[in-house]
Symmetry: D2
Subunit: 348 residues, 4 copies
């Protein structure tokens, strides 16, 4: 049995990664490829945009519209599109009779937050469909697998949030984070470095070869801060950095532990949370993640150490921002949603 899938936004890095993954997925068939623009003067093929697809996927990248997408009769539609395009397309795709409805996997931030009030300040627009925010499921299967199983609209997590939520959320749930005198948790500190592909494929000065150097950006103001806080479960302090490499996020995370917590207890919580998970790898003591180890894979590697005299937990996580941080996670959600084996198409 195989399903029919459509990719919208295939000319971007996440969209192209989706095409790569879905091409070798044994239970999905790509039936349409669309661009994120409404209208293209001429429709190049995917292989003209990315030479690596020559001979593999020579479909034209057509201008996206709800009717054109629906005409492909897809079971699943992946939106690797700007936020507002995602809202418009998802709205149209989710309407209509249940019999011909498809599942939408959106890789933008359009449906990630439950609280519409964060959109104007962080994303620069008033969210037009708070009802869809309520309906959308946050697609991090390791933590919300059951919800993904029944979702019609999956908001695939951001890359930085994935690298932060997986190590932190189980510990917050278990009460490991120290409290301040005012009752709030001491904020975990998340210093992350991302490769350049995270900035997308639109030509901009900051992404040019000669301009990329190790540096912080969006200090105290990155769009992913509310998403991280919402799904970690406490306020955090997130600072992103750009590094001179193509793919991968490394997050170094500092947590002040509540009294009574030590390294063994932290390790136990994470080991239990991710027992049986095939895409989370907890490193043994003294082994630390590297973006090189997860490049091109759907893994999230996590390592921990506790400076016990100070009750200070240091965690490091690594993912490939285009795979576990975007396209791979979306395919994993599709596998969960359609009842396929969760690693289908994701073995490397």
């Amino acid at each position: 049995v195989s399903i029919r899938v459509v990719i919208v936004g295939a000319a971007g890095y996440a969209g192209a990664e989706l095409a790569s993954l879905l091409l070798r997925h044994s239970q999905a068939r790509i039936v349409g490829i669309f661009g994120s623009a409404r209208r293209d003067e001429h429709a190049p093929t995917l292989s003209e945009v990315f030479g690596r697809f020559r001979g593999l996927l020579d479909l034209p990248i057509r201008a996206a519209s709800v009717s054109e997408i629906k005409a492909c009769e897809p079971d699943a539609v992946f939106l690797a599109t700007p936020h507002l395009a995602s809202i418009e397309l998802a709205t149209g795709l989710l309407e209509g009779s249940a019999s011909r409805r498809c599942v939408v996997f959106d890789l933008s931030a359009a449906f990630r937050l439950k609280d519409a009030r964060a959109y104007p300040s962080r994303y620069g627009f008033e969210h037009p469909r708070p009802d869809l925010l309520a309906k959308a499921v946050y697609g991090l299967p390791e933590l919300w697998r059951d919800a993904v199983r029944h979702a019609d609209l999956v908001a695939v997590p951001g890359c930085y949030p994935t690298s932060a939520i997986l190590p932190l959320a189980p510990l917050v749930r278990a009460g490991a984070v120290a409290k301040r005198p005012d009752g709030r948790c001491v904020r975990p500190i998340i210093d992350s470095t991302s490769g350049v592909s995270g900035a997308g494929r639109t030509p901009e000065l900051r992404s040019m070869f000669c301009e990329v150097h190790q540096k912080p950006y969006a200090v105290l103001s990155h769009r992913h801060q509310p998403e991280i806080d919402a799904y970690v479960g406490v306020e955090t302090l997130f600072t992103p950095h750009l590094g001179p490499y193509e793919r991968g996020i490394l997050s170094t995370i500092h947590v002040e532990l509540e009294r009574g917590w030590n390294e063994m207890r932290v390790r136990d919580v994470l080991a239990e949370a991710y027992a049986g998970e095939m895409f989370v790898r907890l490193c043994r003591a003294d082994v630390w993640p590297s973006v090189g180890d997860v490049r091109g894979t759907n893994y999230c590697d996590i390592a921990i150490a506790v400076d016990e005299p100070w009750s200070h937990l240091l965690m490091v996580s690594a993912i490939d921002n285009l795979v576990k941080g975007a396209a791979g996670q979306a395919v994993q959600c599709m596998n969960v949603r359609f009842g396929f084996s969760e690693a289908t198409g994701l073995k490397f």
Copy 2:
């Protein structure tokens, strides 16, 4: 049906790439992993050497010996070992009763040349087994597929040679190369640039991050020159360069054409030679290969242009040196040899 395979030399880049490819090969099962050293004090697992295999292949890398390898009862053995180790292991593995013999795929240069006399000057040793040179089949399936089908010992081509032979050999066979007044062909000029992984994983100054800059090396003296000439079919002039990147070879090739040859005729010869080949992609006019397009794949991309007033043919080819230039080609040979579909495990 599936075969049992052993990898020797798994702690090097080509060996690890073999492990990656064979892990997801639907008709091969890795039954043993060996190092290239005779004796290891402690046997690390593959995942300790390359973190990316954590949770995927935690087998120990054992010290290689003929008897230990044979004890794994392999159908196929891949040798990603130094030349002399390859000779010793291949010799042992090919002996004995036919009933329990395995096919050997050797990625070193030990069996690539037919003429034993080239070994002392290029490789620094007297070849101890000229009889095996005669027996070995050069594993470039696009050109010698039938021989591979029946081989017991496959000499997997070098990376630079693959990038030079695929574009040149069909043209030499067709008589496209101009002759000099003395009757010899005008030498094709091959200027190649390789990524750093081609130099192997042994720590050396030249492969250190801060030492790698665009530069030529082994000028007029590279080991691959006789291999290129032997399988191209004419003498050539090959000059390798090192480039500051991880993977991929780009070869820019100049050929003076014989009278009567033009771009269309060259294109026709190549198109016919590679019609139906899934791993050779002939680019259409004005599209030029990039190592980015073949990275991580088993493709060889080839493009051509002829400066007709000068009867000058310019060709550019690109491969991934670790895939089509080593491990991928070896797996392709295995697929041919065992009658599997040729792309099994090689779809990206």
Copy 3:
């Protein structure tokens, strides 16, 4: 004694390199910084555009106009501007009374060719001032120093041409290049690889970090081909490649030698041509240039080897495309023109 200099186009890579060099030049004082645009809405300072100038050069980058530049009363004006802007500005700056005239050093291609007929096909415009082409001096001091000494308008050579002309021109002059039966020289073959800074600072897809991979471009059609041929002195075949690094050009050059030429004679010609030249380094036998050795310097390193049975000369040259290939060469020309010691400001 010190001269007053103006830089136009300081927001590009070559212009910024000029600013770096002139800042530490003991006999030049930067009195004005202009952008290449005619009109800027807001004038950022150079240090806002390039953070490395913070505290060093906080002058605003003003909109360029002949009158504004003249108002700075410069002795020398460097134009790191697009071709047409260079023509317009040079025309205006060279007019007027001799008493208040400045010397113009132009880094574009606007004045490099003597033959105006090449401009439409290679540069896409009809040259409006063929008279200035006649007047301009090609600023390669090692070969045309005397002309530079008295020039009012110096056309600073292109980066690829510098790397090709320095090794080739003395040999062509000496008659080392083999002749074909039709009397023309056998074309030298020039395979060059450049770092990404050569493509300029305007955001374009091809210069983005994730898009840069070893590959050829502008095959049989690069703008620098006529410039190379004009100053080498024979027709050549030039093929540029892009490499994944910031700075530097490596050119691998093949020459079929005329009867009677061997390695020693080639070496003698080059040694004599560049005796006493401080910016050309002829490598001794078996040492080959690397872009790492010339990075950030005004050197051109050249190495040679002759495959004597084939009378084939292989030369490799390396320069920093932004220094000897642009800004450094311009400063060297300024030093020659104003009678300063030629290495002033160019010692690294």
Copy 4:
């Protein structure tokens, strides 16, 4: 007036950087170049080891010994040598009559710590000369300039420590760091990323081109931790990371501020501490350091932001690890010690 200088350890990255800087220093003359090894079989010249010195510094790199160094009659000796070699050489060089004594600038960690007890655990040896530890001056001129003026033995700071101490020390002195209930300061958190040159030039797997990926190392155990704490003035938590680039350290620093501190007050303390300092650049609001801005320079760029509701100070600093983090700082110390203008030879 000019002084005679000797470089020991010139075949390493820091030693070669010293040679580059001292070559263009108007008041220093290099009179001897030594290797870090006691005995070299053959003495290559510096330009054979680093091609960029061809024609600039062709002195042989001789085996280091106290007597050979003294025979050069140096005023200043730079030791870019392993810790134990530094101790042996410094001991010998500092002995003898005052009339013929030279000043020693040591770039190893041999004399950086006042407390000899840290050496066995962090550096693996018992310090044989605690008396010299007492005598040595920590060569960070911005904070201890007066001591450097009169020192005979200058311990040039480590690269990571420089990037941490410059932003932190003035704030600790001013009492800006929050206290815990137990009276100790809340530890500042320092997450640093360094380029690969920081690991030195000895061939090791971790520094090979294909092995370098963003990752942490020496977690909770880096040698620089005690040096940072000693000169910052409070305990800190330092975590180093390796990034895939050649030069530069970026440190992201988190400080919990004492009651009464806000962004303006922090900025005032730093502005006052570094008023008139030419090598510390305090960035204005919303400008953040990049290793690209300090590459090849002696600058330390520092930027700050305070998340005021949380009294959380975030600082980022950037240096070139080989310049302000090693050779440049050593030259700066020499300038201070010998009364030269502090920026001599350090203008870029």
